[in-house]
């Protein structure tokens, strides 16, 4: 029986709710941006939500994730409150790092979200290092490293995956192949048959799968997780999906591509797909769908209200947290 088959109805409903919440969040911040209502420039994950939800659902709190710039869903499923995320978009003190960093690379130590990097691909080696720590500490936690097709062309992808392969580290590489690195289509930055095949050269399995099928992602990640926790090493999962919006909200959706392509992929939208599946299987009803939408909508409006009421970042704290507090027996003379 596959891992997905073992999910209860409650699980499935919860996963569906995550998908809806993430989409609603993304759509709403795009709207806010269009009205010049927020500070942070959204890099929408619309269309890719199934990957984060499939990958993070069922992770332990101690398992660490390293979201990419577009893995909004990982923050949600790992438990970062909607309010905190929204406050980040508004650049408020209640958001990431008290408003000193943008929210799409935020971390949350307690919930198992590591600080990402604006340098695409760079966080891959950091995730590998976290997995190394688990190995050295003889813990059976794992790391999920999210990144895009573009990031897979960075040297750090190579060094990170090879390093993980050599030491058989408990890390799952989730490559979100959404068809583009900014405006450049995969066909222009990649000549191989698929990304999954690269795993062979690092000595571990690579699997290409439908990233718009939340249960397929869940199943693949859980399989990889069992491998990882058993000390058998990493897995590369190439999740094929599609970026339904522009690279960021500065770019119209049709930038450097045909809208017909976008439409074709919208027809394969992961959320509609799960909804229809659950409806067909009788796990949810139309009424339930409406309730989820309403609840999610309320949650987001609450977060917006929270963000709006929150204080801006404190100018006096401009140079806070450049260094962690240290004893004067070890370091003296820090100045800001």
């Amino acid at each position: 029986m596959s891992y997905a088959d073992q999910l209860t109805e409650k699980d499935l409903i919860q996963m569906y709710r995550w998908l809806v919440l993430i989409r609603a969040f993304e759509d709403r911040v795009c709207e806010l941006w269009a009205k010049a209502g927020i500070m942070e420039l959204p890099h929408g994950s619309q269309g890719q939500e199934a990957i984060a939800v499939g990958a993070c659902y069922g992770l332990r709190r101690e398992d660490q994730v390293l979201p990419s710039l577009r893995t909004r869903g990982a923050f949600f499923v790992k438990g970062i409150p909607t309010r905190v995320q929204m406050a980040g978009m508004f650049n408020k003190r209640t958001g990431a790092a008290e408003g000193r960093t943008s929210s799409h690379h935020m971390g949350d130590a307690g919930r198992g979200v590591l600080v990402g990097s604006g340098i695409i691909g760079a966080s891959i080696t950091v995730g590998v290092g976290a997995a190394l720590a688990f190995r050295l500490q003889r813990k059976d936690h794992l790391v999920v490293n999210f990144f895009g097709d573009g990031a897979a062309q960075r040297g750090d992808f190579h060094e990170g995956l090879n390093f993980a392969g050599v030491f058989k580290l408990p890390v799952i590489f989730v490559l979100e192949n959404n068809g583009f690195a900014e405006m450049t289509p995969v066909s222009k930055h990649f000549a191989g048959p698929d990304f999954a095949c690269r795993a062979e050269g690092y000595g571990f399995p690579g699997i290409r799968l439908d990233g718009n099928d939340v249960l397929a992602v869940y199943d693949a990640v859980q399989t990889a997780a069992a491998r990882a926790r058993a000390g058998e090493g990493p897995t590369l999962l190439e999740c094929v999906t599609y970026r339904q919006r522009g690279h960021c909200e500065n770019n119209p959706i049709a930038t450097c591509r045909e809208m017909s392509e976008v439409e074709a992929w919208r027809a394969r939208d992961p959320i509609a797909r799960m909804r229809n599946d659950l409806l067909q299987r009788g796990i949810i009803t139309g009424e339930h769908v409406a309730t989820v939408d309403a609840e999610v909508g309320a949650e987001i409006e609450d977060a917006i209200a929270f963000a709006e009421e929150s204080l801006p970042p404190a100018v006096d704290d401009l140079c806070k947290d450049v260094y962690a507090a240290e004893s004067s027996e070890l370091v003296v003379g820090r100045r800001s």
């Binding site: 690379h105 604006g118 900014e182 990649f190 100018v315």
Partner: protein, 323 residues
């Protein structure tokens, strides 16, 4: 004279040099069809076609390394690295290969390439897309580092950068792209290594780079209202550094304020201060003042970025401290 933006001036420089010299070509991420994320290369694909301007994979080390290799074979690559913060991932190709290949070949083969990068703080970019990296590269013999402050200079300096047989790091401030200024239509080149006195004065010398030149000029204007005549020197390049212009000014004014956007500590201002403290100490009537960012990564958001980046008021305050 015709007024155009820095963005357009840079594009004109690229276009003119590509027309003049077949070996000039452009590569980088999203620069061809899209025209670059700052739209600097917009329209060039249509004129020059995909052999002269093309998009690369997301691989900055390969972009700069390949630029070196192509330059060694007689081409004149102009590589765009979107954000100067990515220097970290292309650093080795810059400092260990581009900078040293002429030396290592005993002068046989140099690497005539330009790496264009957008630097500097803006409110929405966050700490990985806003750094002023010039001092990371300022101690590397073999490099030339240019930081234009006006459309005129951006165009003229970039043309010189493309033509020189040596590798040039060309730092474009992202908040200057939209800035307008006089740019003649006739062909010209601005030699790299010559600072420009952007405003003459005799009471204090303000040395600045990039976006800070405008802030220094703003400060000079308010100081003028108070009867303090500030001379504003735009370095234009930090390598070579035009010591003569700085020293001549300090000889006249006896006071020096150095402004850059990077954090003060370890920043390039130290070099300028040291040159003056060695070669013009006797002329100094007051301690040298440096203005720069505080010792912190660049923050996110308008409020903190405004507090972080040196302002006209900061410069005015530093000038007053020399009196």
């Amino acid at each position: 004279m015709r007024e155009i933006t820095c963005r357009d001036a840079i594009r004109e420089a690229l276009r003119e040099e590509m027309r003049r010299d077949d070996s000039v070509f452009l590569m980088g991420e999203d620069i061809a069809e899209y025209g670059g994320i700052f739209k600097v290369t917009d329209g060039l694909l249509a004129e020059f076609g995909p052999d002269r301007i093309f998009d690369t994979p997301l691989s900055e080390s390969a972009i700069v390394g390949a630029a070196v290799g192509a330059a060694l074979m007689g081409m004149r690559p102009v590589a765009e690295v979107m954000f100067a913060d990515f220097t970290g991932v292309a650093m080795d190709a810059i400092v260990n290969h581009a900078a040293k290949v002429n030396y290592m070949s005993g002068g046989e083969t140099s690497a005539p390439l330009v790496v264009r990068m957008a630097y500097g703080a803006g409110p929405r970019w966050g700490c990985h897309h806003t750094q002023s990296v010039e001092s990371w590269l300022a101690n590397v013999p073999g490099l030339t580092i240019v930081m234009p402050a006006t459309p005129y200079d951006a165009k003229g300096l970039l043309k010189a950068a493309i033509r020189t047989p040596n590798p040039v790091i060309f730092l474009e401030h992202k908040l200057l792209y939209g800035k307008k200024g006089d740019v003649p239509e006739a062909e010209y080149v601005v030699p790299i290594g010559k600072a420009d006195v952007k405003r003459p004065g005799d009471a204090v010398t303000i040395v600045a780079t990039g976006l800070m030149v405008d802030r220094a000029l703003g400060a000079a204007r308010s100081l003028a209202a108070d009867g303090i005549s500030a001379e504003v020197i735009d370095l234009r390049s930090i390598q070579p550094l035009d010591e003569d212009t700085i020293l001549a000014s300090v000889e006249k004014t006896g006071r020096l304020v150095i402004v850059h956007e990077a954090p003060v500590r370890g920043g390039f201002g130290g070099e300028v201060a040291a040159v003056v403290a060695t070669k013009a100490l006797g002329y100094l009537d007051a301690p040298i003042q440096r203005v720069g960012a505080p010792w912190s990564p660049v923050p996110f958001g308008q409020i903190l970025v405004d507090a972080y980046v040196p302002s006209e008021a900061d410069i005015v305050r530093a000038v007053r401290a020399t009196r």
